[in-house]
Amino acid sequence: MVVETARNKAAEKIVEKILVSGRKIALPDESLEIVKLFGIDVPDCALVKTAREAVEVSKEIGFPLVLKIASPDALHKSDMGGVAMDLKNVQEVERSYNKVIDNLKRNVPNARIAGVLIQKQMPEAAHLIVGGLYDEQFGPTVMFGLGGVFVELFKDVSFRIAPVTETEALEMVKEIKAYPVLSGYRGAKMLDITQLTQTIVNISELISNINAIKEVELNPLFVYEKDVSAVDARIILK
């Protein structure tokens, strides 16, 4: 209970900071920090503000790395060239730092830039999505489904009213059409359904406990045979 209160307070503090700066949309580092507080594994990352800082931090985190633009005006980062992947050394980090900033400036003139998120690049994995949404009628809800860029195309998702139990979360996982792909279809490896289920429960707790949040989303959530990793998180406030 004490732990939960401390966790909620820490998350609310970040939310407060976002609101004070006049924003409704959390920056990538803020979103990741909040979901991490709720027990979700995220890759090592840091927000940097100069190319030099990027180089320093990259040595600490280790390669390969991903750079992601951190701007309240870039919600869909990859659409505007705000993401650089597979960076294997400091030279590439330095070059890419300037490139993602230039790309954003070119695509969104006058965009506010908070910096660049530098993040450990995780090995490729199944892309899933776990989301939370505050509904006007029913309050907090959670969504699970096939993630990545096709999520809106296939809409292979399941919804529940939050908070959900582990049993309900497991039902959500089993409900999507692609479930066999996650559970070892035709000799494929069985993915970590337990961690996946736990992640849904965690997002359910987050959307149920932090009242200021309208939408939260892990997309993609990488799921491995063991463990999951939220490589991107998005939080939108009410």
């Binding site: 989301g131 009628q137 029913f138 809800t141 809106e152 939408e215």
Partner: protein, 458 residues
């Protein structure tokens, strides 16, 4: 019990009472007289001294005795004044039949807000406005203005209907009586200024004569209260919901993928799931689901036995089962062995069991006893007795219903065809076995029992 006075009032004041056949108030009163309502009817209208032989008062304020409920059917702009008067008289319940409120735009919305605030301040429970109100089949009370000569009143029974739409409630009522299904209560709350589905579910949960609840829903009054009420109610009484207006997508301010995918309907589905509500598609499924839940108990699993004397229809039913996720699993070999001792070689013993065109009543008896009564392998059965062969008689009804009872498992009957078959349907249903006139409907009905069986505590 709260809301009891809406269904079983000892005294009702009819505001705007008249004998003028063009006015709906005359119909409301005529209905009540014809139904044999035993409470006191008190007409209120300054124009008359007497309405249908009942003494008429010019205002609520003139009535000396205690009134439980007002039924208000006068022009909308006069309604707030009536509510204020009934507050003075200490009348705690009102059904506002009148339209001309929120459904009309700005001016109406303001009037409806006024009603809401009077209701809140004075502690008056309001049903409506813009509604038909209630039918209680046991107390013989109704605020409906539709003549019972045109809408046939169903028999007393154990189904209760909640509906935002008055026309839907009326059509359902008429269909239920045609289907021979018994009804306890029907409620249409229209614009739902105060009382809505959540309150009514809470009420029906403790209503002794309600076993099954059917809801026609456009929107929800209070999402969380609805979930709480339905969750506890559905543990003991099945709730069937038809949600309409599904294409009304649009959670506003969508910036994430979650927001973009989450139409309101998806959230409703999630809410139904959380509440243990069985959702159906369309009018026919709604009636069929209510019917099968009233007449049969939930299935403990999805292994379905099919017995027929018409191979073709049996296969159609079997196919429909697969589509709906029901398992038409093969007859176990030990059961087949026993069956083969009693049946000629050309009967097909695999599931579906096909007794062929030469079968008679007693073959159904044998098949059911061996495969369903004496053996516990199957969870439920769909029986398709086609009545056309000379060897099939009305006697099969008793045979099947007896075995169904002995087996303790849910059984659904599928009969297809004309006038003679219709007579058989009525016989089956008088024995408590639900009959559906097509493979699709029988299978969907069975699926409802399987779905219900999966729910906690069922």
């Amino acid at each position: 019990m709260a809301f009891e006075k809406f269904f079983n009032p000892e005294s009702v004041a009819l505001i705007g009472a008249t004998e003028d056949p063009k006015k709906i108030t005359s119909m409301i009163m005529k209905n009540l007289i014809e139904m044999g309502f035993e409470g006191r009817l008190v007409p209120v209208n300054p124009k008359y001294k007497e309405v249908f032989g009942f003494m008429c008062y010019s205002s609520l304020l003139d009535i000396k005795e205690q009134i439980d409920l007002t039924v208000i059917a006068i022009p909308s702009n006069l309604v707030p004044e009536v509510l204020r008067q009934q507050a003075i008289c200490g009348i705690k319940n009102a059904i506002i039949v009148s339209g001309g409120f929120g459904e009309l735009g700005d001016k109406g919305i303001a009037l409806e807000e006024e009603i809401k605030s009077i209701s809140k301040e004075e502690g008056i429970s309001v049903m409506g406005p813009n509604c038909i109100g209630v039918l209680d089949n046991y107390s013989n009370f109704s605020s409906s203005f539709l003549p019972w000569t045109k809408v046939k009143r169903p028999a007393k029974g154990n189904l209760s209907i909640l509906s935002q739409s008055g026309s839907f409630a009326t059509c359902v009522l008429d269909m239920l009586s045609q289907e021979g299904m018994g009804v306890s209560k029907v409620v249409n709350y229209g614009n739902r200024a105060d009382v809505g589905e959540s309150e009514m579910i809470e009420y029906l949960m403790d209503d002794e004569s309600t076993y099954v609840i059917g809801i026609y829903m456009e929107s929800v009054d209070d999402g969380r209260r609805f979930i709480d009420a339905s969750s506890s109610c559905s543990k003991s009484k099945p709730i069937v919901a038809l949600k309409v207006g599904r294409r009304d997508s649009g959670i506003e301010a969508v910036r994430s993928h979650t927001g973009a995918i989450a139409g309101k309907y998806e959230i409703y589905k999630a809410a139904f799931k959380k509440s243990g509500i069985i959702e159906v598609n369309g009018f026919t499924e709604f009636l069929d689901a209510c019917k099968v839940l009233l007449m049969q108990k939930p299935a403990r699993g999805n292994k379905i036995l099919i017995i027929t004397n018409g191979g073709g229809v049996g296969v159609v039913v079997s196919d429909m089962c697969s589509v709906n996720g029901l398992d038409v699993v093969s007859t176990p070999s030990n059961v087949k062995e026993v069956l083969s001792k009693h049946f000629p070689e050309f009967f097909i013993l695999n599931n579906p069991i096909d007794l062929t065109g030469s079968a008679g009543d007693e073959d159904y008896d044998t098949a059911l006893k061996i495969a369903l009564v004496e053996n516990d392998y199957f969870d439920a059965a769909i029986i398709i007795p086609l009545m056309h062969p000379q060897t099939m008689t009305e006697g099969v009804v008793d045979i099947i219903s007896q075995s169904a009872k002995e087996s303790g498992k849910p059984v659904v009957i599928c009969t297809i065809s004309g006038i003679y078959t219709k007579k058989i349907k009525e016989l089956f249903e008088s024995k408590g076995l639900p009959v559906f006139p097509s493979p699709e409907r029988s299978v969907k009905a069975m699926n409802i029992l399987v779905e219900r069986g999966k729910m906690d505590g069922c």
